[in-house]
Symmetry: C2
Subunit: 371 residues, 2 copies
């Protein structure tokens, strides 16, 4: 029986190929995994919180589905387990941080905390990071600021997967942009890849044996394809707006470059073409964090009320006949989180089996299913 | 005879419906127009520089084609000709500015100068503006920073023209985002609407009697249309990524909201639904300006070299068989500027006739054509 809107939304997303685990069990499991691999407990908790938050909000691609890749990365020596994260340049409203090849979640949390601290003192905090690794969902960091009544902005470059407009090589990252802000009764949370589709979505379609829509991916020779395998065989994602310029593909391409400038170039690190995967030495993923102390600009309550009013007015504007409703950025994720905290987190059976193998391999207790 | 790449590009864009005028003549003409309307000389020059820069770079929609609208706006009392632009909140790295209903170009130039000044002192300058008007091309302001070896970022909300994802009402603006940065041998310049197509492009198609591609516009009832008239009859633009979520339309929608948050909400002004046109009292257009002093983050030469190298590598990556070349953001505009400084600015005949009527009406000398 469907009881709430969030459960309705959850039902749409989850089918019989999924099992459910409790949030606390999953969190503790992930903490144990990383501690077994040699990461200090506090850092393991930071990483686990970020990964489990992705699963809670329904962002499968950045949840425990990714655990195996992180583990491989650590085992192959691509991650510094006890990094010396250093502030290499510092001012009242900015800093440059060297992540010392630590796990991106640990480096990112350090850097966003620093940005928040600076913003609380001076109104603005901008922290750019080089020499990090994959840090999970960008929205995790922007929400750190929003929960303290600041606007949080976060960007990262990623390994190259996206072709520039009129090009066919993978040179740019999917380079996500996130902004979170507090509003009356909740948060606004934008967290978006700057490609037409995120890479994780291609993986999910592949696992399900589905085709991908024409316009997401060019194969390695530059032909439009609907076969997800073509992507994994060296194809490239198209920028947001798609192929060429007719539907604004050059704008998605611009956004990817905007992110490269504010992450890799401003931090003195690498741009996506030279960014590696977690298992590689010096993968040099680069991030951008910004916190804005709303209270310095406008009374906080006025801002939170105005944002809630805008959200309400957008939601109550006329909807398309084909649409069930109009969503506000972040709303689907927060509804999913609400439901999953109550009924458990949905995990694909194949991912659950992978987690069991990891448990066996590391000698830790297997995850319990919710009966 | 085609001599240079920039001339080649210019030929593609311009046909026999265009005439040419010199940059200096056009600039002086626009200055005279605004002075006749009661705007002080220095401000008139600022406005003219911004408008003519748009025409120089080939952004017709924001060039002198818009002059008539500004003039009507002023005549109908929607603009404060001698605004008292005030800093209402101020810190070392940020400020909130009230534009006092001045011309957006004057207000915007004031605010970006302030952001640049702050960034030179503290590394970062963020200035948000309320109570302004249409300010022309966002890239004009980000380039002010780039020319002084800073990264410049600029956003503005606009009157409502864009439907939210799954909605059909015009509630969001086309809300452009611009970033400019210095590189060896030039500049990177991103300046993009966050809608699938900018409104100006629909006007241009309409004037030419062309259809628009399906996927740019919903008519007032939410049906997909290829008739530009449907847009002017109350239809709405679609966000970047198009209709629904399949091709990432929700991401363009997120970007429009990101801009609303950083402009209208952070400045204590209005979001797009309440933003008016130039002829309206209190149109309350709101802007965001940010300057980043590169030198505080990374040696300037290292940054400029790295950016030029990235641009070069993107351009020399494999191109699609249908493509002539891969462009870097801003490159087309700068090539157009180079050519137009030499051979004159192309203006559509109908716009030229409009300018002649304006000259007659205001009692100023008509524009000369380049013979």
């Amino acid at each position: 029986m469907v009881k709430t809107l969030s459960e309705l939304y959850e039902k749409v997303k989850v089918d019989e190929n999924y099992v459910r685990v409790s949030k606390d069990d999953l969190f503790n499991f992930v903490v144990k995994v990383f501690m077994k691999l040699g990461i200090p407990e506090n850092d393991a908790k930071t990483i686990a919180d970020c990964i489990v938050t992705a699963d809670l909000r329904g962002i499968e691609s950045h949840g425990v589905q990714r655990l195996k890749r992180y583990i491989n990365g650590i085992r192959m020596g691509g991650v510094n387990l006890k990094p010396n994260i250093r502030i290499v340049r510092d001012g009242p409203s900015y800093a440059v941080v060297d992540g010392d090849e630590g796990m991106g979640h640990v480096v990112g949390t350090f850097a966003m905390r620093l940005a928040i601290e600076k913003a609380k003192k001076t109104g603005i905090g901008v922290v750019v990071v080089r020499n990090s690794n994959h840090f999970g969902i960008a929205g995790y960091y922007s929400m750190m600021a929003a929960r303290e009544n600041l606007i949080g902005i976060c960007m990262t470059n990623t390994r190259p997967l996206v072709a520039p407009t009129w090009g066919i090589d993978r040179v740019l990252g999917t380079n996500p942009i996130s902004l979170a802000a507090p509003m009356e009764n909740g948060y606004l949370l934008i967290d978006m890849a700057t490609s037409t589709a995120p890479a994780g979505e291609i993986e999910i379609r592949k696992r399900k044996g589905d085709k991908i829509p024409e316009g997401w991916v060019l194969d390695k020779n530059g032909n439009m394809t609907t076969n997800p395998d073509d992507f994994f065989a060296g194809g490239a994602l198209l920028p947001l707006g798609g192929f060429g310029e007719l539907y604004g593909g050059h704008r998605g391409y611009c956004l990817a470059i905007l992110v490269e400038v504010l992450t890799g170039l401003l931090s003195g690190g690498s741009w996506s073409k030279y960014v590696g995967e977690t298992h590689q030495k010096h993968s040099d993923v680069c991030h951008f964090f910004m916190a804005i102390n709303i209270e310095n600009f406008v009374p906080l309550n006025q801002f939170k009320k105005a944002l809630a009013k805008m959200a309400e007015e957008i939601k109550s504007s006329r909807k398309h006949p084909e649409a069930e409703r109009i969503w506000i950025p972040g709303e689907k994720g927060f509804l999913t989180e609400e439901t999953r905290l109550r009924i458990g987190i949905a995990i694909h059976r194949s991912v659950f089996e992978e987690l069991n193998k990891i448990a066996e391999d590391l000698g830790i207790e297997k995850l319990k299913l919710i009966s």
